[in-house]
């Protein structure tokens, strides 16, 4: 990075220099916060908390998806465009599994907890297997090819997965059964639903378990080592191929869980859902610092909040412009993201 800066003409160096860009970035953030605050004060407090909860629930789901992006990018420096579609696949697999386990809408109760968890586990397993297969077929043969080649196959795989779901269940969006209790209760000015709580808890537990796994387990250590320096890791006796497969498996399992959570929360899935959701989750990963695991979770949460607030306090048709604007601004002003420490540049 220092080398790259030194090669630039002085005008560009000041533009890209840390003080100036940090100042500009801070001004933008402060301006946005002030504007939001002004809009928030025009509405009631209970409305604010309602949006806040929606934002947190969406944000934890985005975080789940973003983890897969950030891990795969961290380890093989590939934007896995198929990841968003693996997330949708989670919704589709679980929809197909519900009848097998006798789960149907309208009979919600505690008896459903175990079957629902079993469905979630099978879905995560299936998604993991699909993603490992994708890596094996489409990415591994191209590991030493120019960077563009695996990127194109990733886009191709994304199209194949979307096409497979389209072929399977048709083009229309599918109704996802309402399985979570719809009870709502008040804590002070906060009106909160049991559904929100379950979704947030489920996603948070997965994120925490996963972070612990990466930090404490032997496989997690192998993943971090491979991400840092593949050759050195190999010299230390780490099986690179197995570690990369494991990364794809875990990332996809989290995305599959995200697909179920999304279905339960939003109550509908369609074959092309994964495209835009995946791009937003990817933005979250970049925002938090790509390759950085807590960063992806934090980025997901922030993007979820930004999305919820922009949708309800401002104009929802500008939300995606805002989110992709954040994507560009992050990369221009702070390419390492909010928490980013490593700079993958080769």
């Amino acid at each position: 990075m220092i080398g790259a800066l030194a090669r630039m003409p002085s005008t560009l160096r000041t533009f890209g220099g840390s003080q100036v860009s940090n100042l500009v970035g801070l001004l933008i953030v402060a301006g946005a916060l002030a504007l939001t605050l002004q809009h928030v004060l025009q509405h009631s407090a209970s409305f604010f908390f309602q949006i806040l909860i929606i934002g947190i629930a969406d944000g934890t789901i985005y975080g789940l998806i973003a983890l897969g992006y950030t891990m795969v990018y961290g380890i093989i420096e590939l934007i896995n465009f198929a990841h968003g579609d693996v997330f949708t696949l989670g919704g589709y697999f679980s929809l197909a599994l519900f009848p097998i386990f006798g789960i149907a809408e309208g009979k919600a109760g505690f008896g459903y907890v175990i079957p629902l968890l079993v469905v979630a586990a099978i879905t995560m397993l299936l998604c993991g297997v699909v993603n490992v297969a994708i890596e094996r077929v489409a990415y591994r043969p191209l590991r030493h090819a120019p960077r563009l080649a695996p990127l194109i196959t990733a886009i191709g795989m994304s199209s194949i997965l979307e096409g497979a779901m389209y072929l399977w269940r048709g083009p229309n969006s599918l109704h996802y059964p309402d399985l979570l209790p719809l009870t709502r209760f008040n804590i002070g000015p906060v009106n909160i639903g049991v559904k929100d709580l379950i979704v947030i808890t489920f996603a948070l537990v997965l994120v925490v378990v996963f972070t612990l796994f990466i930090n404490l387990s032997k496989l997690g250590k192998a993943m971090r080592a491979t991400a840092q320096d593949r050759d050195a890791a190999q010299l230390m006796g780490i099986d690179i191929n197995r570690t990369i497969s494991a990364t794809f498996f875990i990332g996809a399992a989290l995305a599959g869980a995200g697909g179920i959570t999304w279905g339960l929360y939003i109550s509908s899935v369609d074959p092309f859902l994964g495209f835009i959701t995946g791009l937003i989750a990817f933005t979250a990963a970049v925002f938090g610092g790509i390759g950085n695991i807590p960063g992806a979770a934090l980025g997901g949460l922030l993007i979820g909040l930004i999305r919820a607030f922009s949708d309800s306090y401002f104009d929802s048709s500008w939300t995606e412009v805002l989110i992709f604007g954040i994507l560009i601004a992050t990369l221009v002003f702070r390419p390492t993201g909010l928490l980013g420490m490593r700079v993958p540049e080769k």
């Binding site: 090669r7 934007i79 990127l151 196959t153 979307e162 096409g163 221009v332």
Partner: protein
């Protein structure tokens, strides 16, 4: 005659020369053949070919950015959109309903240049802050840009009519035009000629002329000092800078020049369709153009053109026609039950084939990358790199 023979002998082994010759002959013969084969009712196909020409222009432009300079652009459709919307606003009654309340009607030929410069300006504008990013980061920024621009046009309802888009665009006019049997009319000179949608041959000729001009221009750029600088930056930016290449200007120019092609391709597209709508410029368009360049052979101009022609004919001619073909085939084989949709989820073969199109597109992308990553007609330099693998350092040492 002797010089011709020498020329032919010298170039008969050169794949690029063969490709250019085949494409030139094909372009000249296409309207006649199509009209003849369809008994004079081939206008639809000529029009389709003219639309295909837009993709050829786009592939030539993206080839400059990705193939020559090695800057990965995942949002090229944004510049296409900018070119189209520039023409849409400057050559229609659109601006009457906008805050400036005056329609602007700039002639097509001038608007074409304006669209080109506006797109080039947008390219430079996007390029400037992102120049210090490399590789994937640049790709992500262009992806974000490509997602923002169509949404921006969709949301600026006062200026662009939002989702409905701008319609009834002005058509190009010329003082005279030659018509003849190739457009299924008598040979004649027509004065005060207007390019109308029921005369696709004129549009076809126009796009072929635009392509020829572009190919000559890009070929000159390729062998110019700037072209060599692009390739130096692509191969090794640090080494290029050390050799005295101004990498900042070089990359900015690659962005701007690459974008300018999609600028005038966009103006042509808008004028021909007489409609500019935000849905025409989604991510899939960027990906399709990129796939065309990669499929044909990155960094090689005739390669990119062939890639564009092949992928375009698959996506816009063979795949849309496939459901009807499959239905007819099933009928001829006496398997009409395939054509009926059944309650257990079988949608009928036409619908089934229609739904298969995403899978087919994906399989094409994956298959080409796995089987022939250098593309159909690779540049010689590029083919060597891919064979030996620039990322494999041991291979570089042994050569």
């Amino acid at each position: 005659m002797k010089r011709l023979r020498v020329f032919v002998r010298e170039n008969s082994r050169n794949p690029n020369a063969i490709a250019y010759t085949v494409m030139a002959i094909g372009a000249l013969a296409l309207p006649g053949i199509v009209q003849f084969a369809n008994g004079g009712n081939g206008d639809f196909l000529v029009s389709l070919a003219a639309d295909g020409g837009v993709y050829v222009l786009l592939a030539i432009g993206l080839n400059v950015v990705v193939g020559f300079a090695g800057l990965l652009d995942l949002g090229y459709a944004a510049f296409f959109a900018i070119g189209s919307y520039t023409y849409g606003m400057l050559a229609s009654a659109q601006l009457i309903s906008s805050p400036i309340h005056h329609a602007v009607h700039i002639p097509f030929w001038i608007a074409l240049l304006i669209g080109m410069f506006v797109a080039a300006g947008a390219g430079a504008l996007l390029g400037a802050p992102t120049l210090r990013l490399r590789g994937d980061y640049l790709a992500i920024v262009t992806l974000g840009f490509g997602e923002i621009v169509p949404r921006f046009f969709r949301n600026m309802k006062d200026w662009t009519s939002g989702v409905n888009g701008i319609s009834a665009l002005d058509v190009p006019t010329l003082p005279f035009w030659i018509t003849g049997p190739w457009a299924s009319t008598q040979l004649a000179i027509e004065h005060n000629f207007r390019f109308v949608s029921f005369n696709p041959t004129a549009w076809y000729v126009l796009v072929v002329i635009l392509i020829v001009i572009s190919v000559i221009g890009v070929n000159n750029l390729y062998s110019s000092r700037l072209g060599r600088a692009w390739m130096a930056v692509r191969e090794d930016e640090t080494a290029a800078a050390a050799m005295g290449v101004n990498t900042v200007n070089t990359k900015l120019l690659a962005f701007a020049i690459g974008a300018s092609f999609s600028g005038f391709a966009g103006a042509f597209y808008g004028a021909k369709l007489s409609l500019v709508s935000p849905d025409s410029f989604s991510f899939i368009v960027s990906i399709t153009i990129l796939s065309m360049v990669v499929l044909g052979g990155m960094g090689n101009i005739p390669g990119a053109m062939i890639g564009a022609l092949l992928l375009y004919s698959v996506l816009y001619y063979f795949l849309p026609g496939a459901p009807a073909q499959a239905t007819a085939l099933a009928h001829n084989l006496g398997m009409d039950w395939l054509n009926q949709s059944s309650p257990d989820g079988w949608p009928g073969i036409a619908e089934f084939i229609h739904r298969l199109q995403f899978i087919i597109f994906g399989l094409i992308l994956v298959g080409i990358m796995l089987l022939r990553p250098q593309g159909l007609l690779p540049s010689r330099l590029r083919a060597q790199e891919l064979k030996r693998g620039v990322h494999d350092e041991s291979a570089v040492v042994t050569t």
